[in-house]
């Protein structure tokens, strides 16, 4: 992708003077770095960005960015961010949330954000646990997980953030792992350029309360076989030897090996992130280990008008047709009478 950075920012230009407070080894560090790297590649000044978060370890993020920031209340960042963006659509707004913040208490704002398609970016730090409150299961925690609040194992069927978001009319969904900051930064750059709500799920490790929960997916020694990086227009190939691929068989996806049973690259699905019908995107997003590799990258990216543009369009239209030019026109409009 053509990255212009006429201003030649450095990562440090986006780094605040606040000391970073996450636990040593926390996946959040990599995300922070990737974000700073990403913004440095773009040409907007630090003051043009607003990072809005809820509450959670992840939601501390804005303090560490040398941009405007709002560490708000638990679950409400999407609503607060909507106010920021509508008030000033020139601002570049990033929402930072966690699996608890975004999908538990904040679930309602989350789904409504998806359907509205406001021009903002949402980063969901999915560590499948409540970190800040010391380790209770979250809406993405696996069924059966033993945590402080589930001593006998969790009895809740987890959400898949992707399925939930797509079911709520999400137009842009990407997924990345916290152990590949360079790739993450490139996705941030893409998301920032997309006009509309871009949701990025990050498979984030919490070494303290849910260590290695994403290891079966992101583990160094097998990740080439357990993740597939989707690129628009490219066939769905993966595996250490890039011999495996994804094929559609009726209404089901399946993993095939190139060269076996006469399968060639031709048989594989070619990723079309721009397809408006979300069916295949949902199927791809739903793939999970061990049967399938987990899909990484931009899974869905469909253009549509943004909420902020629609708001501004109505204002413009209203200005054009209104008979009221000044407030006094309003105050004096309609039936009035004079008292001498």
């Amino acid at each position: 992708m053509a990255v212009e950075n006429v201003k030649a920012f450095k990562k440090e230009d986006f780094s605040s003077d606040q000391m970073v407070r996450w636990c040593p080894g926390c996946g959040d560090y990599a995300i922070l770095r990737a974000m700073q790297v990403a913004l440095a590649q773009l040409d907007r000044d630090p003051e043009d960005y607003v990072f809005v978060s809820g509450i959670g370890c992840s939601s501390r993020f804005p303090y560490y960015m040398n941009t405007y920031g709002f560490h708000s209340i638990h679950g409400r960042a999407p609503a607060l961010a909507l106010g920021v963006k509508l008030a000033n659509p020139d601002l570049r707004v990033w929402i930072i949330t966690g699996d608890g913040d975004g999908l538990s208490i904040g679930g309602n704002h989350f789904i409504h954000a998806m359907r509205r398609n406001l021009d903002v970016n949402v980063i969901l730090f999915n560590n499948e646990i409540y970190g800040l409150t010391k380790g209770q299961y979250s809406p993405t925690s696996k069924l059966g997980i033993v945590t402080k609040s589930s001593p006998q194992g969790s009895i809740e069927v987890p959400f898949s953030p992707a399925e939930l978001a797509l079911g709520a009319k999400c137009n842009y969904f990407a997924r990345v792992a916290d152990n590949n900051p360079k790739y993450m930064a490139s996705i941030f750059v893409e998301a920032e350029k997309f006009r509309g709500t871009s949701l990025i799920e990050i498979l984030q490790n919490c070494p303290i309360f849910n260590d290695k929960i994403h290891e079966p997916i992101v583990g160094r020694d097998h990740k080439d076989d357990t993740m597939i990086i989707l690129e628009h227009g490219k066939p769905m190939v993966f595996g250490k030897e890039r011999k495996k691929g994804i094929r559609l068989n009726g209404l089901k996806l399946e993993v095939v090996t190139i060269g076996e049973n006469g399968i060639t690259e031709e048989d594989l699905l070619v990723h079309d992130a721009h397809e408006t019908d979300p069916t295949l995107h949902t199927m791809l997003a739903r793939m999970t280990v061990p049967e399938f590799p987990v899909a990484i990258g931009v899974i869905r990216q469909v253009k549509g008008s943004t909420f902020n543009d629609r708001v501004d369009d109505q204002i413009a239209q209203s200005k054009a047709i209104s008979s009221f030019k000044t407030m006094d026109d309003v105050l004096r409009g309609g039936v009035t009478w004079e008292v001498a």
């Binding site: 709002f70 560490h71 209340i73 409400r76 106010g83 000033n88 006094d328 009478w337």
Partner: protein, 615 residues
Amino acid sequence: MTKETVVNELDRVVIKFAGDSGDGMQLTGSQFTDTSAMLGNDLATFPDYPAEIRAPQGTVAGVSGFQVHIGKITVYHPGDKADVLVAMNPAALKANMKNVKTGGTIIVDIDNFTTKNFDKAGFDSDPLKNDLLKDYSVIEVGITSLTKECLKDIDIDGKSVTRSKNMFALGMVYWMFSRPLDQTEKFLETKFAKKPLLIEANKKVLYAGLHYAETIEALASSYTVLPALYESGLYRNISGNVALAWGLITAAIKSKRTLFFGSYPITPASDILHEVAKHKHFGAKIFQAEDEIAAAASAIGASFAGALGVTSSSGPGIALKGEAIGLAVMTELPLVVLNIQRGGPSTGLPTKTEQSDLLQVLFGRNGECPAIVIAASTPANCFDFAYEACRLSIEHMTPVFFMSDGYLGNGAEPWRIKSLDDMPEIRVPLADKSEEDFQPYRRNPETLVRKWAVPGTPNLVHRIGGLEKEDITGNVSYDPLNHEFMTKIRAEKISKVADNIPELTVDGAQQGDLLVVGWGGTYGHLYTTVTEMHAEGKSIGLAHFNYINPLPKNTDEIFKKFKKILVCELNLGQFVNYLRMMKQDFKYLQFNKVQGLPFSVAELKDQFENLLEKK
């Protein structure tokens, strides 16, 4: 408020039923009369029939009307202008609209509003579509079709169906004035004794009307204060919620801020949303949120980004916003919270008026979490106090609660139109990019207000949030002494608002035996009663509060001048308890009513006279 006023009380209400000769308006009117009589109301009625025996249907000449004036206190005449008009067709509207009080309620049967009927009635165009009824609260109901629908399973002839539609209208008016139905039920049983199907049909329609009014949460929008001695100027009629909406827009324009309005519908606050949504031409950003929390949070976000963030609701919705408002207190951002109160607790009485959310807005948040609280006291001054809420919120960088209620919001009164130029300046404490060593929590030493540093501005990049802030830098701080300091400074900042608001004034006697104290929407009744009694020579004054937190500086001074203080409220005594906290040195008597209704002058007079005698 300098103008002289008189009260038009709910218990002196004038209702006019009007329709075609065949529409049964006389019967409807007399039913309402009889039911009211049974409730012990005094009344006067005025039936007016068409001149001809068989006037042409649908024409003004053919309109039959029945006016009834009811009151708890003596009623001497059928009333001048109607508070409520029921118009079964365009002709009935045409014939009677001049005689409806501006701001009154007009119920129309839209099924009869056809082009043919406009013609017959002599309207140029659909009177419901043009500006003609702009200053009334119009309730459009398909009375004919709803009646038909309601009776579709009862085996009676079409004519009988049509005839029973007056019962629908009657049912609606019964709902609006909380009348019981039994008298009319008995009447129907007698009248149609031999036609049980007609009894059933008429009752069914009567209930359908009642339930319909309940379902669509129809409110009687009569209001109390009618200025008698006008100052010269241009006037219009205005309802509280519209005045409020206009006040917000005016403040946004004056302060050069984008108005951001985030709300979730709820009776009786929804009309504010509907009104601001009509005025996007001033650049207002309107957001119908998914819930009240999102509404409040979005307004806070907008304020952070430099807009004037406003959110509106009624009691149950305000309860939901508490946590978010706490965030605005901590981050010291402007936020205007409109609470159009209704009967509580819980869902309570959504269409009835009450003043029982005062303690909620004063104290309904975790931690030491002070906010400014002000209250409008007439429909028209909702404009001024909405403006004032915005002014104080911006100038003091803090949430402001604006209190109104269903009665004020829905009621209307004549208003001497103000202009943008009449409104006080709003000093916006904006930081600009030339700021040296900007620190988000550095304060104006006099007002203790921090500066508004708006995203997008170079040089002011900073971060805020709900954790305790360090003095000056605004960084997160867990330091014990800093916390105490900040807690106190947040409280002090709010008390300093007292320097920026007018002093309390007294109507009637300036000192003497009895000081009546009120706040918010009870002003009309209290004012009328006190000034009437004062005119009669009684030693009685009224101190009505629009500013509740902080209280006006001269409150003590005024309280000292009276022997007795009586606090009158439509709740169990919330303001009086607040006064006991804040001004413990005075003794307070209290008079409370919790019936979902405003005070009546009669009951107030009773109370006041009693107290004056007892001295």
